[in-house]
């Protein structure tokens, strides 16, 4: 009896099991004088069992949580409404990275300031010439006469306090002043432009109608857009990429268009093109127009934009409705410019340039042009969602068709199945009973990974499935380590209980250590990875943690149950 009890104790050296051994030794040595206390075995057994029930409760709780988190994936109606998200590579869709050309927003601010300054100088009757924007974001003005600079400074202080004077140079009687926006102001405009672009993108995608889009900032100027399930990628791209800057400008009817086309553009005007596509032949015609640079009204003042069908030509057009301010401005423009042509310019292209017949009050206008239904609809969307404060550039585009996504899911699952079945069969054959326990852990492991994906709202991607497959291979590693140790201890002549005890004790630390390195790699990948790679990092992390839990805690419970409750005499390992 004494001998067998001693065998219960692990003959470990160092580390955790050494500690346990010394504690256990004290239990044995206490009654050293007389016969061993008959209850000591029971006491240890009771301790084990109590411990066992604790661990059982823990495993039960984890399992229950896992099932709860998996429910919505089976039926989305079920609480807690968090399904496993599929990545774009599995469900198909579109991934875009846009860059906001924020410096253009600064340029247009400076342009606006220069127009305002012209207005102010005219109002204050300060003699000036050649007021223009130069080198992107500087304003240059020539002040005529020696009285002008003083008056100009007064206007500057009062109306344009945010402008910084770069240089003043005397040129005969005149003075040339160059100004710009200080860096802080520029940064502010750029930040605002990016933030506003993000908001505008959200609005556009909202109206385009994509379920569960993901729109977020990436870095300082980039916007990441993920549109799962989008089929008409071309249309989506056009919608995202359009600046949608709507401007109303007068046609320069005094300037000479032919001269302008040769390069002699009159001051304050520019050549823009009106592009028309013949719907029947598909032929594109480009008509040049000489347009005044000054913007009279922009899409900023729009209240609504809708697609309507022209009753006589059965062609779609976009009807615009201005807000109160816009309506007033529009009324004023039309009043002052009767019989002149007003060009409707969208992103630098003239859509139409009708002649103003009379003053238009009420604040409504229409954009005609040879639109298809979809084009008109998208134009209305972008006008409603508002213009981008600066143009965007598509830096990265990845689209996956739905059929490829389905194929990927099928082949991914196929590899999980084939790999899993081979490993499960192998473990059962090689380790017999213990192998079955390891297989139970393996199945639980996959359940936990899936629950983790749902619970953390992570995204499952194709490399993510590869991560699960890899986990299957590595999860059995922990059990292989334990079982090999247990076999070794058994060969030394230990009882099953002692062999299992020693096997776990000696292998646990090694298992923890060995997994730390893979976990480090996975965490770094998670931090740096994007899209599919991040999905791989997620399943790998989840898989490592889950496999530690199942291999060290769950399989141990089964062994302890077999050894202490069922009094198994021979290990099937």
């Amino acid at each position: 009896m004494r001998k067998s009890r001693k065998d219960l104790l692990p003959k470990g050296e160092g580390g955790a099991q050494g500690l346990r051994a010394s504690v256990a030794l004290r239990v044995v040595r206490l009654p050293a004088v007389g016969r061993p206390i008959p209850g000591s075995y029971t006491r240890e057994r009771n301790g084990k069992l109590k411990n066992l029930s604790w661990r059982l409760a823990l495993v039960g709780a984890v399992l229950a949580a896992a099932v709860v988190f998996l429910l919505p994936t089976i039926n989305p109606q079920w609480w807690p409404h968090r399904k496993i998200n599929l990545g774009l590579d599995l469900q198909g869709g579109m991934h875009l990275i846009l860059e906001v050309e924020a410096e253009k927003a600064v340029e247009s601010s400076v342009e606006r300031l220069s127009h305002e300054m012209q207005e102010e100088l005219r109002k204050s009757k300060i003699p000036y010439a050649d007021l223009e924007r130069v080198e992107g974001n500087k304003i240059k003005v020539r002040l005529l006469g020696d009285k002008a600079p003083k008056e100009f400074d007064a206007v500057l202080d009062k109306e344009f306090a945010n402008l910084r004077i770069l240089s003043r140079t005397a040129d005969g009687q005149d003075q040339i002043v160059v100004m710009d926006l200080p860096p802080k102001e520029r940064e502010h405009i750029e930040e605002l432009a990016v933030a506003q672009a993000l908001e505008t993108m959200r609005n556009r995608i909202d109206q385009f109608g994509v379920s569960e889009p993901d729109i977020r900032m990436q870095g300082e100027r980039r916007i990441l857009i993920q549109l799962p399930g989008v089929k008409d990628t071309q249309r989506a791209k056009a919608l995202m990429g359009k600046t949608a800057l709507l401007e109303f400008k007068l046609v320069d009817e005094t300037g000479d268009l032919d001269e302008a086309l040769k390069g002699k553009v009159p001051k304050g005007s520019e050549v823009l093109y009106e592009q028309k596509t013949d719907p029947s032949t598909g032929r594109v015609t480009r008509t040049p127009l000489l347009i005044r640079k000054r913007t009279l009204l922009t899409g900023e003042y729009l209240k609504d934009a809708r697609v309507e069908i022209d009753s006589s030509y059965r062609e779609p057009y976009v009807s615009l409705e201005f807000d109160k301010n816009g309506a007033r401005i529009f009324e004023k423009i039309t009043e002052e410019n009767v019989k002149k042509r007003l060009a409707i310019v969208l992103d630098g292209n003239v859509h139409s340039a009708p002649v103003i017949q009379e003053r238009i009050s009420g604040g409504s206008a229409r954009i005609t042009g040879s639109f298809t239904d979809a084009e008109a609809r998208d134009l209305a969307i972008v006008l409603r969602a508002g213009a981008l404060p600066a143009p965007v550039k598509i830096l990265e585009e990845r689209t996956v068709g739905p059929s490829l996504g389905r194929d990927s899911i099928r082949s991914g699952l196929m590899s999980v199945l084939v790999g899993g079945v081979i490993v499960v069969l192998f473990m059962a054959v090689y380790y017999k009973g213990a192998g079955l326990i390891a297989n139970l852990a393996l199945v639980l492991n996959i359940v936990l990974i899936a629950a983790g994906l749902a619970g953390f709202q992570a995204t499952l991607t194709l490399p993510g499935i590869a991560g699960i497959i890899l986990t299957i291979g590595m999860a059995v590693d922990a059990n292989v380590l334990i079982f090999e140790r247990t076999r070794e201890e058994s060969r030394l002549g230990k009882t099953p209980r002692a062999a299992v005890e020693a096997g776990y004790a000696k292998a646990t630390l090694t298992i923890l250590d060995a997994n730390v390195t893979t976990l480090i790699a996975a965490l770094v990948l998670f931090q740096f990875g994007t899209g599919p790679v991040k999905g791989f990092a997620v399943t790998l992390c989840l898989g490592i943690v889950a496999s530690l839990f199942t291999a060290i805690i769950v399989t141990r419970i089964v062994f302890d149950y077999m050894l202490f409750q069922r009094h198994i005499k021979k290990l099937s390992i």
């Binding site: 990265e396 590869a466 380590l481 060995a514 893979t518």
Partner: protein, 354 residues
Amino acid sequence: MEFIKPDINVDFVGRRKTAYLLSAALIALSIVSLIAHGGPRYGIDFAGGIVIQIKFPEATTAGAIKTALSPVGLASVMVQRFGEAEDNEYLLRADIGGTPTEGIAQEVEAALRGATGKEVEVRRVEVVGPQVGKDLRAKALFAMFFALLFINIYISGRFEFKWTLSALVAGALIGAVLLASRFQVSIPVLIAVALMASIACFWFLRLKYAMGAIVALIHDVMITVGIFSIFGKEFTLPIIAALLTVIGYSLNDTIIVFDRIRENTRKYNRQAMETIVNRSINETLSRTILTSGTTLIVVLALFIFGGGIIHDFAFALLVGIAVGTYSSIYVASPILLAWHEESPGKNRRKKKRS
């Protein structure tokens, strides 16, 4: 059931010279291949460009596709078969060049449909601008750098439980990298500096286990990269992920063998180091083969059934895991032993103390 008998005693250590030769040959081959190919072949993620995956209803040839595409005006287009032959899938690779990429997929689809008279399916389009490619390259290298840094810190402290030394190594590494980065060097150089600094640290601090582990790790990554280069495969983001996983896995294997060596040095402290190392390798051999076996089986399943998109990723893992297993037996442990033979005096003193 047992594959490996418990009393197995293969003389791994005795064959280490052969192993050194093999490893040296493989590494030399890798370097030669990398030089011959002008560095690693970057995939679209890192080089930028256009990739279009198309599926035809019936068999066609790469030449026919190329001819059909000639009016589209893609810069230096490359056509490759993708996946199984019966899938009739092809991958088009082109540089972005000056061509506008808006609607390129539609143009390609129209051109192919016009030429073949059949419905072709555009299954995947990826356009990566050169700037993004550069950024992704930097990001991937940073990921590798940080993974190496953390793993270095971990292994320098972990084997001999000298965590103060580990802090020292971390400090030295970060110092070296900060110093190097003042000279505006590129990230690959930074990684090389970090690696050299860590090897130097391990040498001076006499961290022999850490040294064995890091040499094995470099060995594994170099050979995997080399084999990739020999097969002309492209480096993409997922491949970097696979390489990092291989690093983690290779260390996992090494740690288990080293743990047993440490345990056995305490147990049989009168025996020669060579016997102890060989004994430890043999004792863990069963586990090494089983784990590598199961992992290789599942990765092989992925390689065979996972489809074209994951094919190269699985290939990298397959190579890396095989090389990693080999290196923990034939590289990491012999390095440890070689160190031991170099400085017998030091070790005797150490033994007496313990």
